[in-house]
Symmetry: D2
Subunit: 362 residues, 4 copies
């Protein structure tokens, strides 16, 4: 693209506490956008990093929509090196990289004294059985095992205190975020009859499928269509099992590809052990998320829609209870690139650096 | 619109065995399109009927896309009257009318010796409890009760023989068709553990919401969005209960509004009583639908998508079984205006008139 | 909808320098969103006004997507009255009302000492011939004539100084903004051979058609479709003629309805009097908009796309010149609800109150 | 995909007068669909051909939507060879191949006594200057020159008689079809002031960009967007110049990518030499296309929309005249895969084989 920036601010090349590796994808771009506007970093743009052997490239050549009048047009994506990170004073490194690359980089990053927020699935899962689907090449190595022990699952609503002091935050999966936040209060309270099974029927916009052009992301496949995929085989399943303390036979998770750019809606089905009242359920949710600025609870009987949460960092939750009080349908919505990826990562950053959890996310 | 028809075929005003009342909506338009091309009615267009007090109107003024070179442009929508139906020799009357109107018209139509295919929900439900949601004004009257007894649920795959001789066919709901066809073989075989509950998560294109402009059908609401609605309260639920012989506490059905013009995908979740094999399940489906030309069974582990069935009269069914053989996800797809409405109505017509079931639907 | 706000800030009911009448439509909602986040009004939410006889209603009941954690959930839309405006200390009144209502209200507002930014077409046109298409009921009255004389066409890039001191700003039409900004530099420079005619082929997302559910805004009409409308008859034509000093026979403007929620792309065709060079044209544009923070000029031969400008207040402009240097295709893009409506209105507000033009719009 | 065909008709492997090379793309698939239903070929499926070195593959494995109950599921795509074509008795070979491949194959096909309908741009252009954009490797060779002389531009509305006897038909470009049909009557009549320039602003659905997954066809680029491309450089421009007898400086053609799967709308702008009346223009169009079954003329002042023509073989044409009778906006719509590709190819086939022009296209 051919934007010519209006001004070139030399300050933008100065010291910066944060860096992003992997800014070419959708989550990386959203992260860049959020950090460029973050009030705590005004005047100090993040360090944007590409492959070690890449030529420097203008950020707005890749993402014309990021250009604005504050000099963003002159920002460069620089070749990755540990020296560069040290020279710029980077404290927190975001990895928006494929999971194999994150597995490889994180040990070195920690050795260099960096704190890491990893947006991939590399370090989210404690149980080897749940990690099997990733087929990590370093699975079982002593280094990887040691690092996994330190990793904190980066869902502030569940692990806020641990995140504040974490060296390595494993940012949750987008589907997993929408499901875990909606089910955790009910499951924790012991209300759900898990022997009857929990059904998670999730639908995601196409940005969740990544930026690589494929048969799946071709407009002609995605538009005017809906398809289920990876049934009983999606990588986010392990996150559900670990964070909700469920066994594999207690849950079914089916993701679908929606003909929209962004947004996830999960429809969740539980059977209660004993009849419940709508007001009691609503109250349980409100108490559970009382300190959480990015969860919005809808009044009983009102359901969120994808439109309400897209372009925000909110996870919206609503529910409908059957007349007998035993069957409950919960609907949760979020923007897969924000609360489901970059926005949640900034929440984690804020906690790690001692800022207000919501700074830069309003 | 301003089409000027090229030719006017006087034959098109001649005798016709079929008539449609309510041609302004989407299902009525599809029905008109199908019957205009039906090989058994070449040269004898259906009688198109509007309100008794309406002025005659060109069909293609309402639906420009129906115009072609065989004179369709000159076809009129005529004011409804019983005399007109008699004079034209109509034997089968399609009602694409609101359900209250169908309740009112059917007794008279039968009195006039007409056979009726009703596309509304007026006569689909045998049990008063299941009909309650419709709040019919004639509920419980002796006439209505007598007529309901004669009504045949118009799903050829389940009631083919009864339909051949039916005087009144109640054409199934679009959601109900996608769910019943996919679950019936498994439930009939006694494989499903109904005590654990069946989950039906269905998604429909906007044409299912009707032609009236409303806040729900506004492009700004439907596009880039997904929303669940009528949870535990959708009118098609009764059809599921009756055709699958289930009790209300054994099933949950959640419809969603998809940002696409047409098509339904239902994702169905069952738990089996005993472990099953994929090949056994596929085989069960194939046997069940061996004589049914409009059900396509996918090989085990392959799932249909909305795109494959749209603009066809097929209901596509596929499934994925869990490793333990106990949890099964079934996906079914169809075009809500064809197999879910007008196409299934033509299947029923073919059976009633002794034609091949698939004539005019290839 | 059922959001229950988390906090209720009593400050939000305090004095406020701005009010919006007509917050139910899309432009009104965007305006509310922008003003709620405007750094100059933190702690002082705008006054939101509905009909004089309306009951107070929560803003987020109408627009759930506006809810956030700063108390917006408790904001009320209050019944309109002049007393209320006075009591709240309102200085600037935004009118997001139909044009007939704006014609009626503006004289009273000025009498009450308010400054007005009107988003309708009521006061944009100086020439009676150009206003004829609106059929104003007070056309030609002495009051209306006097007020029209004071009205400033609210396009900061053309009338920045006049807007600073204006009592009444007529916020431009969305199509007109995209066309005038792209053509003004070329026409002003005298380069365009207007005797050969200028073609303006514009395409707009559905939000431009308003929030009322109509046959035109029904998803089934707008989706998978494109249609031209109001050819030689669109109300924005007069704005083109007046702001570009053209006569009606020198321009053709054709609007089209795009199957997307928001965004306008105008493709503009001019013939030059003498051959030009790409670099010269680019340079002309850059000089013309050197002081304008919300116009982005693309390098010669690079064209903007709707995606780059949506959800921003930018108007993006690019062009392609023919090999002979005589025929030029200019493409301009903007978000019809921001630079084409609410965003431009906030630019005007900033100028009127002596703020930086870009405050609250980054 | 896993369709298991219900029946295997051995007849489908018998002699066939037609073959398609290149059935994997969108135009090839539509061609397969049309020919499988063509009444003149019932019981004799076309020969479907892939690369010479490809393994046989089921047609419905590639295109599940083609499966139906008449045995299509068993149809094979066979490796290309001239012997196979001879053995099957093929008379007409469709090439749905890239243009370089069509350049290479056509001389051999003619040598083998085959008649060819080529859907690529290989043989559409008579003038070397207009072909330059293709950079054919055999440009100027005596063989290529001789073949080009025999090629007939396959637009039945303009060259019906020549097509009947053609050995090689060059099927027109999709954009070119929509523009030439709409302009030819006006230009031929000498009404258009070509010295003022003709503007062709065209918009196409994504299927026109081909099946290969690219950054351009990625859902995230195409959806919620509109972009102009190849301004002053599109390959179809030469077809406009040759078929309308215009010089390059008399026309500007700008294609745009629409966020819809299929359909083209062209908005065309002409200035008349002398004022015209709407009725005269409409009459001119009707006379010009009196014998053409696939052009629908709209009444003066009524404009076609993409929806009316999609899934049909019609080109719809409407216009709006300015009050002074001098400026005229013409809108034409068609389905780029049917009238813009496969449908027009079948029209040509029908003419070549002496069938009714509209057979198999109703």
């Amino acid at each position: 693209m051919g934007f010519a920036p209006k001004t070139l601010s030399s300050e933008l090349c100065a010291l910066s506490p944060v860096a992003i590796l992997g800014v070419s994808g959708y989550a990386g771009m959203e992260l860049a956008r959020l950090l460029l506007r973050h009030p705590r970093f005004s005047g100090t743009a993040p360090v944007f990093l590409g492959r070690p052997d890449s030529a420097p490239e203008r950020l707005t050549a890749l993402h014309p929509q990021l250009l604005d009048n504050n000099g963003a047009g002159s920002l460069q994506i620089e070749p990755f090196s540990w020296d560069l990170l040290r020279d710029r004073g980077v404290q927190v490194l975001f990895l928006a990289t494929p999971h194999e690359q994150s597995r490889e980089l994180v040990p070195h990053a920690l050795d260099h004294g960096l704190r890491v927020i990893d947006l991939s699935g590399a370090w989210r899962l404690e149980q080897p059985a749940n990690r099997a689907v990733y087929k990590f090449s370093d699975e079982g190595s002593s280094v990887a095992t040691a690092i996994q022990t330190q990793a904190i699952y980066g869902m502030p609503e569940l692990h806020r205190d641990a995140i504040r002091h974490a060296l390595l935050v494993a940012n949750p999966g987008c589907y997993a975020t929408s499901i875990i936040l909606a089910l955790k209060p009910l499951v924790s309270a012991g209300w759900v009859d898990t022997t009857r099974g929990i059904v998670c029927d999730s639908k995601s916009g196409v940005s969740g499928a990544g930026k690589a052009p494929t048969a799946k992301t071709h407009f002609m496949h995605a538009a005017d269509n809906l398809s289920a995929y990876n049934v009983f085989a999606h990588r986010h399943t392990g996150e559900l099992l670990e964070q909700l303390s469920l066994s594999p036979d207690q849950i079914v998770f089916t993701p679908h590809l929606l003909p929209i750019p962004r947004g996830i809606l999960s429809t969740l089905y539980v059977w209660f052990r004993e009849p419940q009242q709508p007001a009691t359920i609503e109250s349980l949710y409100r108490r559970f998320f009382a300190e959480s600025p990015f969860v919005r609870i809808f009044a009983a009987g009102h359901l969120p829609q994808i439109q309400y949460s897209v372009h925000t960092n909110f996870c919206d939750i609503g529910f409908q209870l059957s007349a007998d009080g035993l069957r409950c349908v919960i609907v949760s919505c979020l923007d897969n690139l924000l609360k489901g990826a970059a926005g949640q990562a900034v929440q984690n950053l804020n906690l790690m650096l001692g800022f207000q959890e919501s700074e830069g996310l309003a």
